[in-house]
């Protein structure tokens, strides 16, 4: 088992450092941020909030990381969230039993993923184009289901997907961590991870070596669709309603950013589920800090841009030598003084 530690701590140092930094900003903005208290068997506190709010993007990132590792991208995850949420809400409102409604929602994600996978793996469309199609049409599909309204529901089990507590943690957090763990295990305890990375770096060689490249390609999109559906369920349950218009809006960009912050290259190849999850948390921590800082909302986008730019710079291969030389110069100066 020790071979499958999901986050190899040493490899994740940059992401951990970023997370700590983002959390420190939160502490600076809201002093009581780190306090944790147990109440009615559930933990409360700023950290829990970040985990809880970050759960959907964590899930998306978990699905997105293998996709990006195959040199792909999935622009449709936000829309899949909306569709699956709409299916679940419409399902319970139409009198479907809640387990069936949830299954239907997950199945919807699976079908969406299958569609993407088909276009990419069989029809060989460029991933960005293939998933753009669903991104454009998908919100319409979700609205078709809800007829443009917010479908509210009162089915307690469905609401519990976002509201229940398990092991003192909000259920979304547990679900996201479980999904991450399961995915990590699926890719590292089997040969899938190797295949994904091989297909992502050199599909031709991989095929010649006997890897079923189209299957691998298709599978990552299916998985991404499934994760997005789960994220959609959480988002829908969170507001007790399916908001086809806004659920998951632009979250695909967050997920991609999270995976990139997690150190997976958009050129495919090596990927890490654990670090992608950390990337999602970094994003959420930043967002929470911006929200809670009390600055005018006009500033949000600029702040976000600056932070992402800083992260990119820090991650750049060109940055380390530069930083080292700066540190050296600084030290020299200090020595002289």
């Amino acid at each position: 088992m020790s071979a499958f530690i999901l986050i190899r701590l040493k490899a994740a140092r940059p992401q951990l450092a970023l997370l700590v930094l983002a959390l420190l900003v939160n502490v600076f903005v809201a002093p009581g941020f780190l306090d944790l208290r147990l109440q009615d068997g559930r933990l409360f506190g700023g950290l829990i909030d970040i985990l809880n709010r970050g759960a959907p993007v964590m899930l998306l990132a978990v699905g997105m990381a293998p996709v990006i590792a195959t040199r792909g991208i999935d622009l449709s995850v936000g829309v899949i969230m909306a569709i699956s949420g709409a299916v679940a809400a419409a399902g319970v409102n139409a009198g479907l039993a809640w387990p069936l409604a949830i299954l239907a929602a997950l199945a919807t994600g699976l079908v969406c993923g299958l569609w993407n996978g088909l276009l990419v793996a069989v029809f060989r469309l460029q991933p960005i184009v293939a998933t753009l199609i669903l991104m454009v049409a998908g919100r319409g599909i979700a609205q078709l289901i809800t007829e443009g309204r917010i479908l509210t529901f009162t089915e307690p089990h469905l609401i519990a997907v976002a509201g229940a507590t398990l092991a003192a943690l909000p259920l979304p957090v547990v679900l996201a961590l479980l999904a991450a763990g399961l995915t990590g295990l699926l890719v590292r305890a089997t040969a899938l991870g190797l295949f994904v990375e091989a297909v992502g770096t050199n599909p031709r060689s991989s095929r010649l070596a006997g890897v079923h490249t189209s299957l691998v390609l298709g599978a990552v999109y299916v998985w991404s669709g499934l994760m997005a559906a789960l994220a959609g369920l959480i988002a829908t349950a969170d507001i007790k309603g399916a908001d086809a218009n806004n659920a998951g809006l632009w979250l695909e960009l967050d997920a991609i950013l999270a995976v990139v912050i997690g150190g997976t290259s958009l050129y495919g190849g090596r990927f890490s589920i654990g670090r992608s999850v950390l990337g999602a948390l970094v994003l959420q921590a930043m967002r929470t800090a911006i929200l809670r800082a009390g600055l005018p909302p006009e500033l949000n986008l600029v702040l976000m841009a600056l932070v992402v730019a800083a992260v990119l710079t820090q991650q750049s291969p060109a940055f380390r030598p530069l930083a080292q030389s700066l540190v050296r110069r600084f030290k020299n100066k200090e020595a002289q003084a």
């Binding site: 184009v129 753009l132 991104m135 049409a137 031709r204 958009l266 992402v308 730019a309 940055f319």
Partner: protein
Amino acid sequence: MGRFVNTRTLPLLATVVVFVLIYAICAAQYPAMLGLRVMGNLLTDNAFLGILAVGMTVVVVAGGIDLSVGAVMGLTTVALARLIEGTGLPPALAFALVLALGGMFGAGVGAAIHYLKAPAFIVTLTAMFLARGCALLISTDSIPIHNAAYDTLAAAALALPGGGRLTLVAGIMLLTFLAGGILLHGTRFGARVFALGGNGHFAQLMGINTGRTTILVHAFCSLMAALAGIVFSLYTRSGYALTGTGVELDAIAAVVIGGTLLTGGVGGVAGSFIGVLIQGLILTWITFDGTLSSWWTKIAIGALLFLFIAVQRLILVASARYGRSGAGPAAPSTPNQATSAPASRPSSGAAAPSAS
């Protein structure tokens, strides 16, 4: 025949054929769509998108992508409105200023991509946040521009028979396409762009300064975005920070429909022009129909996008299979088609780090 119909012109040809077909269907259903009026509208209403598509084509041919164009366009419109309304700057000066700033912004983006070795997708995404955020900081309101010179420019048009008009902005777009075509297909810079998109590392080994090319390509794209902003502000005589939200995806779609490959190195602006017209046509048709609900509109747009790409793909695959008769033994496909590189000759599409 064989000279003009090859793997490179084929996607373009396919696009043109599909465009004509759709137009014919539309016109059969709604004869009003046949007139020069609708044609003129198509050009005017999509002028800004066309200009964006020119810049996007160049970036995509160079193997990159630019998600910031919509935001830069929005930023330009607000900046213009502020400059002209707030400080009373003459429009000509304001235009020059925003174009220069746009170019510099793009150069910065290109420099970040090159020197940080960061993927264009993420860098331009960040640039999109930044540009949109700056626009909102300038003003969250939409600002009307009341300026005599502006009114003249906005109203300038060539009357076409049948109530149609070829407006100044449409003219600017047509000229931009012309200039873009010459730049990309007729200059040394254009050759470098294709080289960069074909294989950046090889281009560098062949003596191309890839850094400078990347910077220039993005500067050009942002310049076009700023020009699109000017055109849009002429088109609406106002400036608004949220202008062009999501328009980058339309521009990318136009480029893709036009047969330019997102993997870089293959394509051209002519296809993008058709791509823009096709999108405009689809929207016009949906409006003429007038019965589609909001959601069916979205689904229809997505379905048509799919249709286009699928048809193109089919034609390409079919031609690869049956088309190259005559000229000696046709190319056998190399071991795998999984890479989407245009020709499957072994040396294509290698992202090889270095000579071993």
